[in-house]
Symmetry: C2
Subunit: 190 residues, 2 copies
């Protein structure tokens, strides 16, 4: 059963921000944000290409080599990494239509281990979760990701919205920086 | 005309190292080195997947989605990045059969700009160049990459081996760490 978002009162600010990014998926919003960071010399953060297993390539044509058979591979790390104020930054971004919880299975074990390693080596690692029907974007530190992942192995398989409200940071939206996650770093990490 | 490597006297050490990695290409050697770093909890550094433009995918089959048409894209960043001792690390790796110089055109303008940005933001950026016929692997700081790249726009299109000898660091080879580039960081950067 799909639960629809509860009706909520919109403040002027909310209306502006939700109009700005309406219909954009999380990846597009983060990419646009990263471009803003790059163009304004704020940070150098990129999405990694999708890992692909190439099976066969056609070199016959004069033009570019054409890949004719390939498959998606499971990523061993996260989608985004880069540098901000001298710090190594690493995160995974996920979107959910649920209005109540985020299913942990959306983050692979490899990715959880990767986030953990990054933190142990002195980087900043986290996940960004977009509750699209609620139009809320959360920044959750990898410490909680690890904790919830370990819990999911024996108990609850998802992270409740209430847990995001308690342990995650809400990321401001905006037009030029649709997902301004670095503002969270400025406020709570650096 | 292909120039063959000049005969050189092998010392005991040289013989050991060249046997260890004989026939391996640079990418394999770096991947193996990165695995060693990861397994021994020294650093978290990965090669990024090859960027690919996917044009068409066959979802018909019950099994995995099959990509049936795709093309290689020019990378906008470098091949490798990650974290070591809290520092953001970023580099590109190239191999040449030349025994006298490395052609700058092997490094794209985007990549040069990326290396420059990384350094400006407090990371460590460089290129690794493998002269395969000489069995020599050099670590060249991005400052020199930028300098030689700019020079190539109006004058010399390559970096001479003598310039590597003067301005780059020779990377030790070994069996477990075929390209131990972090030893250069330990010695000269950290």
């Amino acid at each position: 059963m799909i639960k629809y978002p509860i009706k909520k009162e919109l403040k002027e600010n909310d209306r502006i921000k939700s109009t700005a990014n309406r219909g954009m998926n999380l990846e597009s919003m983060i990419n646009r944000t990263n471009e803003f960071y790059l163009d304004n010399d704020i940070a150098v953060i990129y999405k990694k290409p999708i890992p692909i297993q190439i099976v066969s390539v056609d070199y016959k044509k004069r033009s570019a080599a054409r890949i004719t058979e390939a498959y998606y591979k499971l990523p061993s790390t996260t989608d985004y990494n880069g540098i901000y104020k001298g710090k190594y930054i690493d995160f995974e971004a996920k979107e959910t239509k649920s209005t109540t919880s985020f299913p942990i299975k959306n983050i692979h074990k490899h990715q959880v281990n990767h986030l953990k390693r990054v933190k142990e080596h002195g980087g900043i690692s986290f996940i960004i979760v977009y509750f699209s029907r609620l139009e809320k974007i959360y920044f959750l530190d990898s410490d909680f990701v690890i904790e919830y992942y370990e819990r999911s192995l024996k108990a609850r398989k998802s992270i409740g919205l209430d847990e995001f409200e308690k342990n995650a940071y809400l990321i401001k939206e905006g037009y030029r920086k649709p997902v301004d996650y670095l503002s969270v770093l400025d406020k709570y990490y650096l």
